[in-house]
Amino acid sequence: MKERIYRIIFTVLAFSSLIFLIGIIAILFKEGLPIFKKVGFLSFLFGRAWYPTHSPPEFGILPLIAASAWVTAGAVLVCVPLGVGSALCLHELFSEKQRAVLKPVIEILASIPSVVYGFFGMMIVTPFLQNVFHLQTGLCALNASLVLGVMAVPTVCSLSEDALSFVPKSFREASYAVGADRWQTLTRVVLPAAGSGISTAVILGMSRAIGETMTVLMVAGGAAVIPHSFLEPVRPMTAAIAAEMGEAPMASDHYHALFAIAMVLFLITFFFNIVAEIVSRRFRIKLGLSG
């Protein structure tokens, strides 16, 4: 009897996240879809002008999508070498003791609030970029990419390290047995074996970067134009939602448009997560861990 009660309680708890997820999706679509009565779906997605409060308003989010894409791509360029590099170092070069110290230190990076990263970007990275590139303003896509890249390092590093540690010892031993040196074993055996696990890490790092809000709001500059270089100010989707939602009159076109942006953003991260799941499943099968 007691056992059954516990069973019910924990089943309910387990399903609660599913309920939250469904609730969030339902609200997103309910509040986002009405904008498409006013603006065509394609002209919303590919429109080049975002003037939500002008009269007449224009709701084209291509500049916002492009901004998110640039910033995320830049962040990947930063977090992959740093994250995968530190994972390799942790796993290949360091002793158990050194790893026990360094891994938690890297994970502390993940616990720093994003507003602190944003502040750091505004006060340190901005003037630095202005001086190095002789920019008129350091608030630009590159700034956001650098800061987001560092923010995503713990995710990428931690998951990559897990992927490396899943590679069975027998793979290595077999490689050494046929006379391969350490470098050959690493690049030809261990990395390919852990490859899809590392890809999963990178994809989840990307999803973290594309969804990050506070930091990009503070350092990306906020200009809603399609960027032509990393040195231009941009306005990613998350920044637009965060900055404008508070003041958008409820149930206005602007309000629905912001929900529709959130919907697009959700679909993008959802896609990333599905890809990550598929890739990691393939990884586990390849290593014979589970089905």
Binding site: A49, W50, Y51, P52, T53, H54, S55, P63, M122, T126, P127, Q130, Q136, T137, G138, L139, L217, M218, G221, G222, A223, A224, V225, E232, P233, R235, A242, A243, E244, G246, E247, A248, P249, H254
Partner: protein
């Protein structure tokens, strides 16, 4: 959602029964610019006047005035004067709108201290913000591209600036939009070629405030209306305010109320 609405209704019915019926209620609606003042003032006012119930809503000046015409609100917040047609409509319904100026809104145009420009005309400001002029040398400065900084398009300051300085024209698309007055000020302070605008209350020594049409922005020039990017903020009432409405307006005009006005970044009348 419906469930919560019902719960809310139920809760207010129960509370309404518990509190004796002499509780007086007023409804305020209108301009989002005036909203922070009336909201904060209502909170402070209700703290010291048990039984007073003040509901504050946004919606925009036009919406507030329309509700005043229909008699569904006691105070209409407005960031502009009522139009003749609106006054006429109110009179037709047997009411007389009374304008109560509660604060002044003044917006300073600011640049970096390294900038040689220290005065612009309103037309030059409009040309810079709409993209007709994009180099400082065209407005008397050195040869450098102007970095245009604006507030987010849904903020009250953006709206006021758009109406007062830009004649409702579009801000150039590549303007850097910042989320707060402080963010605009700190970006301008960090960026040599930037131009930005902030409420008068947010100008600090880290940036240089420009004269507009030859008038220096200050409390005095905003209060006497000579500074061009300024406007009065109204709370319209139906006739001379009475009862709780009068008490509330009197509170806003008091030293304490005007302190709230200043705290919200506007210019107090005293």
């Amino acid at each position: 959602m419906k469930f919560f609405t019902r719960l809310g209704v139920l809760a207010s019915v129960i509370l309404g029964l518990a509190v004796p019926c002499f509780a007086e209620k007023i409804v305020i609606e209108g301009s989002t610019t005036v909203l922070p003042i009336s909201q904060r003032a209502a909170e402070v006012f209700m703290d010291s006047h048990a039984g007073a119930d003040i509901a504050v809503r946004g919606g925009g000046s036009g919406v507030g005035i329309a509700s005043l015409i229909d008699g569904t609100v006691d105070i209409a917040n407005a960031s502009r004067a009522m139009k003749d047609a609106e006054v006429q409509k109110t009179v037709d319904k047997g009411r007389t709108p009374k304008a109560n100026v509660v604060a002044m809104d003044g917006i300073c145009v600011i640049v970096n201290h390294s900038n040689g420009v220290s005065a612009l005309t309103k037309k030059q400001i409009r040309d810079i913000y709409t993209g007709k002029v994009s180099n400082w040398k065209d407005v008397g400065g050195s040869d450098a591209k102007i970095v245009v900084i604006s507030r987010d398009s849904s903020s009250g300051t953006f709206e006021a600036f758009g109406e007062l300085a830009l004649d409702k024209e579009k801000v150039r698309a590549d303007a850097l939009l910042q989320a707060s007055n402080q963010a605009v000020a700190s970006t301008v302070a960090q960026t040599p070629d930037a131009i930005g605008y902030v409420g008068l209350g947010y100008v600090t020594s880290s940036v240089k405030a420009l004269d507009v049409d030859g008038v220096k922005a200050s409390r005095e020039t905003v209060l006497n209306g000579r500074y061009p990017i300024s406007r009065p903020l109204f709370m319209y009432t139906n006739g001379q305010p009475k009862g709780l409405t009068k008490e509330f307006i009197d509170f806003i005009m008091s030293a304490e109320g005007q302190k709230i006005v200043e705290e919200e970044g506007f210019v107090g009348l005293k």
